[in-house]
């Protein structure tokens, strides 16, 4: 064990240099009891009431919250959550005046109090000496506990130290004038505080815990002593320290009880000393044993305007104005004064009384306004240097602060100033020294931050430059490589696989192609045409046998078939109900008509996005002509969006003389005409084109198009001659038209699905063609 710790255990006290003895004003403040204060109608809970970063808000405007419900949440111990002090509705999450010297607005959750005070269910009690320290520390964090002495350091971080703690120091010194919050707490809740100390000691593995109280609080000392006697823990002891301001300062108190002077910029933890306020110890007890979050604290209300100075349990979030009102104090708007938050020596005058009580506000001091005499010149009396508890040279710092010589101020360790105000207290010239130091410190902090920012910006800029350089280099390399490859390809005549493949394809094309009179190369598809012809004959024969049972369809000519189909279509549209009732004839008449009906149905279904096709889905969609036709039409529509004519031309020869195409064209045309009730025209044009169904179809379509009052006329006409040889184009156009119609008129009722399963070779051909076309198009796109 360390020497200093042994001495501390024995009870040897030390002194810190400097310090002052201001009038304490504590004698007439009632500490016998802590009175309960009610929550104001509107509670403003600032999200950050501690050192660190604010936790994430987990409530939204309009939410109903219960008393003790967490308003924010964080996994990090540096961001303890805040809790609702009352039940009510969250009316705003916005910036509200802060309880800070600056009075700047800070993010706060505003709760409209419903005065029901319905609490959330308290968390289960943990055993004081719970084996699992992590559970206790997590509970302390979840209950939003941060240091209640003034600085507001998150307690969970402080306790959760990897470093070994030798001494736990409980700060009950409370050296500032007027403040009796801790004093009244110790007087009234001594047992709870001692239990809290036990919990913290258990968590921090400190071998010794000392509760330090200034000797001007005999009642508190007596209460704590009796509580300690009840506990009978030899490692928790009471130390009564002499009254001197600022013995309640963390480093000063450490010096008093251990004699160790904590070096500048070092946390006491580094020396193995953990300091906690008595209020924090009490809150830890409440959190661990009663599962209560930190939603209220003891606040001393004192001053000239306060009739009876007392201590109150004030819900955190209550506005200070409400606190004053509830005690009958005059409103700050009536007096020339404004309340001071935090005590006479280190407190600050409140900018806006709407600011709420926070976890760190221990005292509201409402004194009469005192006219401050203008500061006089420093006479270099040296009083300030005598009382400075840190041992700084306040008068030097005063010069450097006035001349804004930040470098010199830094040299004289202005950053170590604890802003206790002892120097200003003794200054005969009434120079607001602490205020000067605060400004200087803020300026230095900004300067340091600017330096850090500049360093960071420089680093980022350099990284960026480097990255750009690398990218440039990489691009250059890539270009070089590509150039090299090209060079190599050019050099080696036979080595290039791509070139070889290209040549191969070219030669193949040439072998297949034949030269026209004008020297143009066109693919020679004679073999395919022959095959198709044979197929067509075969199909016609099949049709013949099927139609022998039909009444009017004796004619085998496909043109006549197309006319008939068109007629059937018209019939179908006009007498929908009839067709729907009796679909049989259409089936018996012509499979193509049936297929068209099926397509119409499919179209309708597709439009409605009906996935269910119970009857038609039996044969897979691969063989389902209706669905396939619909797909083909959709594709045609897509094509139409692009170059209407050129694209289909490429695939034209393959569909030459295909009766199925002609049929499709005729069907589509008939549909169109049907819309304008002009079937006769088609019928009339049909006979003239008896020889070639494709040509007939083209002519018929052209005519139909003409009738159609649209801008497309010329284009279609132009494409008509070409379709003489290119029925595929015609088919595409027809499909596109059909598609157009589909979007405009959907009055064709779906037919019973019986005709569908019929396998129409023409339809199958159309599907196959459409598929081929699509593939081709995709290949082109690629």
């Amino acid at each position: 064990m360390n020497n200093w710790l042994e001495n501390a255990k024995v009870g040897i006290l030390h002194r810190f240099r400097g310090g002052v003895h201001p009038q304490t004003h504590k004698s007439n403040i009632d500490t016998s009891q802590v009175y309960q204060l009610t929550c104001s109608d509107e509670c403003v809970v600032a999200l950050q009431q501690h050192i660190g970063s604010p936790a994430k808000v987990i409530v939204a405007i309009g939410d109903t919250v219960l008393k003790g419900q967490a308003l924010s949440q964080s996994l990090l111990f540096q961001s303890p959550p805040v809790h609702s002090p009352c039940s009510g509705v969250i009316t705003a999450i916005e910036k509200r005046p802060s309880t800070h010297a600056s009075g700047l607005d800070v993010m706060s959750v505003v709760i409209t109090n419903d005065h029901q005070y319905n609490s959330v269910q308290a968390q289960p009690a943990l055993s004081i000496l719970d084996e699992n320290v992590e559970t206790i520390i997590q509970r302390i964090h979840d209950c939003g506990i941060s240091g209640m002495g003034g600085a507001g350091f998150p307690t969970a971080i402080k306790i959760n130290q990897s470093k070994d703690i030798d001494l736990l120091l409980i700060n009950g010194a409370e050296c500032e004038p007027y403040i009796t919050a801790d004093s009244s707490l110790m007087q009234n809740y001594a047992n709870d505080i001692v239990s809290g100390v036990q919990i913290i000691k258990h968590c921090s593995t400190a071998s010794l815990a000392l509760i330090a109280i200034e000797d001007d609080k005999p009642k508190a000392i007596a209460a704590i002593r009796s509580a300690l006697d009840a506990v009978k823990d030899p490692n928790i002891e009471l130390r009564v320290v002499p009254t001197k301001y600022p013995s309640g300062g963390e480093k000063q108190l450490i010096q008093i009880v251990s004699g160790i002077e904590i070096s500048a910029g070092m946390p006491p933890i580094a020396q193995g000393i953990l300091v906690q306020n008595v209020g924090t110890a009490y809150s830890v007890f409440q959190a661990v044993v009663h599962g209560k979050p930190l939603i209220e604290r003891v606040v001393t209300l004192a001053g000239d305007y306060v009739e009876q100075a007392r201590n109150f349990w004030v819900p955190i979030g209550t506005s200070i104005e409400s606190l004053l009102q509830q005690n009958g104090c005059p409103s700050p708007s009536q007096t020339l004064s404004r309340p001071i938050v935090g005590g006479a020596m280190m407190g600050f005058m409140l900018n806006d009384c709407q600011a709420p009580v926070t976890k760190t506000s221990n005292c509201i001091l409402y004194n009469e306004a005192k006219v401050i005499k203008p500061a006089q010149a420093c006479i270099r009396c040296g009083e300030c240097a005598q009382v400075c508890p840190i041992g700084l040279l306040p008068q030097q710092l005063h010069w450097y602060s006035q001349s804004k010589d930040l470098e010199k101020a830094k040299q004289y360790q202005v950053m170590d100033c604890i802003e206790c105000g002892a120097c200003a207290f003794v200054c005969p010239s009434e120079i607001p020294l602490v205020q000067e130091y605060r400004e200087t410190k803020a300026a230095i902090r900004l300067q340091v931050q600017a330096k850090l920012d500049a360093e960071r910006a420089k680093m980022r800029h350099e990284n960026r430059q480097q990255r750009l350089e690398q990218e440039k280099e990489a691009r250059k390399k890539q270009h070089q490589l590509a150039a090299k490859r090209r060079q190599e390809a050019a050099d080696s005549s036979d080595g290039d696989a791509v070139a070889a493949a290209l040549a191969r394809v070219k030669s193949q094309q040439q072998a297949k192609a034949k030269t026209l009179d004008n020297g143009e190369l066109v693919p020679d598809n004679q073999a395919a045409i022959e095959a198709r012809k044979a197929k067509k004959a075969e199909r016609l024969a099949a049709k013949n046998t099927q139609q022998t049972s039909g009444d009017s369809q004796a004619d085998l000519d496909p043109v006549a078939g197309a006319i008939a189909r068109a007629k059937a279509k018209k019939q179908q549209a006009n007498i929908e109900s009839h067709v729907a009732k009796d679909p049989r004839p259409s089936k018996s008449q012509n499979p193509a008509v049936a297929a068209a009906i099926a397509r119409a149905k499919a179209k309708k279904q597709q439009g409605n996005e009906e996935v269910q096709e119970p009857e038609t889905s039996a044969p897979s969609t691969k063989q389902n002509p209706a669905v396939a036709a619909a797909i083909a039409r959709a594709k045609a529509k897509k094509q139409q969006g692009n170059e209407e004519v050129q694209d289909p031309e490429t695939s034209a020869p393959s569909t030459k003389q295909n009766p199925a195409v002609a049929a499709a064209i005729a069907r589509a045309k008939a549909k169109k005409q049907q819309a304008s009730a002009e079937v006769q025209e088609t019928e009339a044009s049909a006979p003239t084109t008896k020889q070639n169904p494709a040509i007939a179809a083209a002519i018929a379509r052209a005519k139909a198009k003409k009738q159609q009052a649209s801008a497309e006329v010329q284009e279609t006409e132009a494409s008509a001659p070409s379709t003489k040889q290119n029925p595929a184009v015609a088919a595409a156009i027809a499909r596109a038209k059909a598609k157009k119609q589909q979007t405009s008129s959907d009055d064709q009722k779906p037919q019973p699905s019986k005709p569908k399963p019929i396998q129409n070779p023409a339809v199958a051909a159309a599907i196959a063609r459409a598929k081929a076309k699509k593939q081709e198009k995709e290949a082109q796109n690629d």
Partner: protein
């Protein structure tokens, strides 16, 4: 005669030592430029006419006027003058700041079309976003150089002052409303 020999020999020996030291202990880069660069605010704003703080620092080390740094202002001039051991000079006309306080860029998200031009302009990679996606400025990393403002085709980038919070407040209590009371004459 012997004295002449001795002196010559000494001169040769020291010359050799100096020559060796010049090679062996050669300082990379320009130490003066590095020191000047440490003073410059590193906003990389290019208002001095150089593409960044480092080139400007090099130019100063080579004798260019050191009064062109707009973000640094008077303080930077004084610091550089102290470093160089010369008298501070007045801030150049082009370097006068219009207003005090650090400004950072802010992208009005409604107007952003996601052109990435500001991203390319930012010298410290403080703008996030990708093609046709809304961009945003990482305020913490922004140096306030305003280089992103001009390239924006929709003028959706504006410079906003950094918000004052209790943590970066300058503690100037006099700026808070203080009541001046006339003292009653006895």
């Amino acid at each position: 005669m012997s004295a002449l020999f001795a002196l010559t020999a000494l001169a040769l020996i020291f010359g050799a030592i100096l020559g060796y030291a010049a090679i062996r202990f050669r300082v990379e880069g320009n130490p003066l430029a590095d020191e000047i660069e440490a003073i410059l605010p590193q906003t990389q704003c290019a208002q001095c006419g150089h593409p960044g703080c480092k080139p400007y620092a090099k130019a100063i080390a080579n004798g260019e006027a050191f009064n062109k740094c707009a973000p640094g202002g008077e303080e930077t001039i004084i610091e550089i003058a102290n470093l160089l051991g010369v008298e501070p000079i007045a801030l150049a006309e082009s370097a006068h700041k219009e207003e005090d306080g650090k400004m950072v860029a802010f992208i009005v998200e409604d107007a952003c079309i996601g052109c990435t031009k500001c991203i390319q302009a930012c010298p410290v990679d403080a703008i996030l976003g990708s093609n046709k996606k809304m961009h945003t400025v990482i305020a913490k990393e922004c140096t306030g150089c305003e280089l992103c403002v001009a390239p924006c085709p929709t003028d959706c980038i504006e410079m906003r002052p950094v918000a004052t919070t209790p943590s970066n407040w300058d503690w100037k209590l006099q700026q808070i409303d203080v009541r001046i009371v006339e003292e009653d004459q006895p």
